[in-house]
């Protein structure tokens, strides 16, 4: 579910939706998601002062708070 959510938001934000990739590493307490996008889209995903990625993380945390699990979103180059 998280992968689909991250992917849909990322695809809406970038110029090259075809290059959006999300990698999931599940853990007991924490799950880590690695998001990669086309190089020219990095700025769009991070946003001014990281505002965009901060918003994505806020949304992910709202979802994960239901299941008492932690979510970590990393952006990989």
């Amino acid at each position: 579910m998280m992968v689909k959510l991250i992917r849909s938001m990322a695809e809406a934000l970038v110029g090259n939706p075809g290059e959006v990739q999300v990698l999931e590493t599940r853990g007991g307490q924490t799950s880590v998601y690695e998001l990669s996008v086309a190089k020219e889209d990095l700025g769009r995903i991070i946003g001014k002062r990281g505002q965009t990625v901060k918003s994505i993380r806020t949304i992910l945390n709202a979802v994960s708070s239901k299941s008492n699990k932690k979510v970590v979103l990393e952006i990989v180059e």
Binding site: G15, G47, R49, Q51, T52, T58, I59
Partner: protein, 240 residues
């Protein structure tokens, strides 16, 4: 085949010539309607292209002659144009609604979203379940969703309407509680005769605080700090 063709060129003459070639008919056999006359502009920059609508002249029209031709072309023009403009508007509101519904359903909240549109903004109201999970602490989840939808729709850099998200009447409640907070802190500043700092807030919330106190002659409001840490300081007026 479409019964008419819209053609753009530098001049009307060129457009008509092009139309003749497209239909492989001489000018006399075509019904030409001028949509916009081209203008030369400045050294070719800012020039407006001439636009015509061409259709094959049918035999009926030939008989009824120039009588029918003029009113037809005038009345035909107007509805087509306005419909185009409306389509774009509906499109943006609809697109934003679909986007937010898509994100919500992937979050596990398949709530319906209704649209209210004005000249400056599109208000999307999410019919929540009353749990407040979509709002988050201090409205941060709702603001994050709003931010993402605005960013996603404005990525082409075109000037568009602002999208405002609301659920369970949160925006109005928030405004009321901020105004109450502003008045309370304003009173405190006057009482202790010292500046009072308000917690960091986003631009929208800060604006509400500034507006709530702008008519109070005994107080001055200022903003300090950068980015997410920007906050308001309420200062009692020295003379007051």
């Amino acid at each position: 085949m479409k019964d008419f063709m819209e053609i753009e060129a530098k001049t009307i003459d060129e457009a008509i010539e092009k139309a003749c070639r497209e239909y492989a008919l001489p000018r006399e056999k075509l019904n030409i309607e001028i949509i916009s006359e081209g203008s030369g502009g400045f050294l070719g920059i800012l020039s407006k292209r001439a636009k015509i609508r061409a259709s094959v002249l049918s035999i009926d029209m030939d008989i009824s002659g120039p009588f029918h031709e003029m009113p037809r072309s005038v009345s035909k023009d107007i509805p087509v144009e306005t419909q185009d403009v409306n389509d774009i508007d509906i499109d943006m509101a609809e697109t934003s609604r679909k986007m937010i519904e898509g994100i919500l359903s992937r979050m596990g909240f398949p709530f319906p979203v209704s649209i209210k549109e004005s000249d400056e903004y599109i208000l999307l109201n999410i019919k929540g379940d009353g749990s407040g999970i979509l709002i988050g602490k201090g409205g941060q989840t709702l603001d994050a969703l709003q931010y993402i939808v605005n960013k996603a729709l404005n990525k082409n850099g075109k000037e568009r309407k602002r999208i405002i998200l609301d659920t369970e009447n949160y925006r109005e409640k928030r405004e009321k509680s901020l105004v109450t907070l502003a008045r309370k802190l304003g009173e405190k500043a006057k009482r202790i005769k010292k500046p009072v700092t308000v917690n960091p807030m986003n631009a929208h919330d800060r604006r509400i605080i500034h507006l709530a106190l702008q008519n109070d002659k005994e107080l001055v409001t200022k903003s300090k700090g950068e980015g997410a840490f920007r906050k308001i300081i309420i200062v009692p007026n020295k003379k007051g």
